[in-house]
């Protein structure tokens, strides 16, 4: 065997070392990757994200609009689905009953026309816009549409923040 300084062949020992350790680390990587993927279940047995809220006429205009253009806040689905249905003159939208600060459940005070969160004192106007306290942004809204049987469907997997409030899916045109 000539000892050539440009000889880039690897010895049999070196090849086996590389193959051995290589296969060890590849296997280890696959096992670790598998273990991580294992922690993300594919099917969740949680509540369905959509629900039928009722017919549009159940959320009629009552009385007068306040200074935010809101006529009425319907609490029908507040307890069961954490959703308020808010009626403006030409729109109905579904507001998530979850404070945008740290996730507590706010309450609607109809006399004061204000939402207030009991945890850290956040306050929101009747249209969900934050007005006081540590809440950083308005209450989120859910996707809302009309089903084939004319019922309102609220889809809680579609969440809209204030920049998307005017998107077609975020409100119902009445």
């Amino acid at each position: 065997m000539t000892t050539d300084i440009n000889n880039t062949d690897i010895s049999r020992r070196r090849l086996l070392q590389i193959a051995g350790w290589g296969s060890f680390f590849v296997t280890l990587g696959i096992l670790i990757g598998g273990a991580v993927r294992f922690l993300f279940p594919r099917v969740l047995f949680e509540r369905p994200s959509t629900f039928k809220a009722g017919f549009p006429h159940e959320f009629d205009i009552k009385g007068e609009a306040d200074k935010n253009g809101v006529f009425e806040v319907y609490e029908k689905w507040k307890d069961e689905h954490s959703v308020w249905l808010v009626r403006e003159k030409n729109r109905i939208y579904a507001v998530h009953v979850k404070c945008t600060h740290l996730g507590c459940t706010p309450n609607w005070f109809a006399d004061d026309r204000i939402f207030k969160c009991p945890c850290h004192g956040s306050q929101f106007h009747s249209n969900g816009v934050n007005s006081a306290g540590p809440a950083p942004r308005p209450l989120d809204r859910f996707g809302i549409s009309i089903a084939d049987d004319s019922m309102i469907i609220v889809d809680k997997s579609r969440v809209y923040t204030s920049k998307d409030f005017d998107k077609r899916e975020a409100y119902l045109e009445i």
Binding site: L39, F40, P41, L44, F45, E46, R47, L102, G103, C104
Partner: protein
């Protein structure tokens, strides 16, 4: 020679059965004492002899030892509590009530578990304070401080995961707040700045096993609390105690 008793005990302690279990004699020599400790798996974890400086209670306050003792109390009471606890939402709260009102000594078992947990956190803080004030973190002992901090974090995680298990209002909302904060982590949280993940594959999803605090979350927290975190704690405690021993024993001079 001796009387009946002596003969019997002699025959006993020199029988093959006895010798196969206890491989040493009872002679009170230094060599035999060392042999007794060294040949026993439980005793050999201790040093063969204890140096005088290990008894400086005013120096150590014995806080590390007390913390370890409280860990053992937790493990012991925890195992007993496991006999009556089902980690599913339909049973968890009910089992906690069952332990309180029905199971004999269930109240005291649960209360000891709770108290020891709080005390353990407190003694960890005192231990850290002592180590700092006595300069016992100085080289070559710096890394042991790091190991100790890891142990502290593990203790906090044990407290956190254990808190969900009663499945009452305090549990649910504490975990809601904490996991919502996880959801706001940068990059790996779906509500965080620079988020690259969705609600269904962020760090909060891994911790809860879902998007809500439901059965998956309870089970994951249970597995962490009874198996993963204690195993990690034991490994790190082994390293922690080993380092102390190898650096000259507790409260030895630098």
């Amino acid at each position: 020679m001796g009387n009946e008793k002596n003969n019997l005990s002699y025959r006993l302690t020199n029988s093959q059965l006895y010798k196969s279990i206890f491989r040493h004699s009872y002679a009170d020599t230094t060599k035999n004492r060392a042999l007794q400790v060294r040949s026993n798996v439980f005793l050999h974890l201790h040093p063969v002899s204890v140096p005088e400086h290990a008894f400086k209670i005013r120096f150590t306050w014995c806080m590390g030892g007390i913390t370890f003792f409280l860990f053992l109390v937790e493990a012991f009471t925890g195992v007993f509590l496991m006999f009556y606890y089902h980690p599913v939402p339909e049973f968890a709260y009910h089992d906690m009530k069952y332990l309180e009102f029905d199971v004999p000594f269930g109240i005291i078992l649960r209360n000891i578990h709770r108290w020891a947990a709080h005390l353990m956190v407190f003694t960890i803080i005192l231990h850290m304070l002592r180590v700092f004030l006595t300069g016992s973190y100085k080289p070559p002992r710096e890394f042991n401080w790091v190991v100790g901090v890891v142990l502290m974090v593990l203790t906090f995680l044990l407290s956190f995961t254990g808190y969900l298990l009663p499945w009452d209002q305090l549990s649910y909302w504490a975990i809601t707040v904490a996991t919502n904060m996880m959801g706001a982590t940068p990059v790996i949280g779906h509500e965080g700045p620079f988020s690259v993940v969705k609600k269904y594959n962020d760090i909060r999803f891994v911790v809860l096993g879902g998007t809500e605090i439901e059965a998956n979350a309870l089970l994951r927290f249970y597995v962490m609390h009874i198996m993963v975190l204690p195993a990690a704690a034991i490994i790190f405690m082994a390293v922690h105690f080993w380092r102390i021993r190898k650096d000259g024993g507790i409260s030895g001079p630098l």
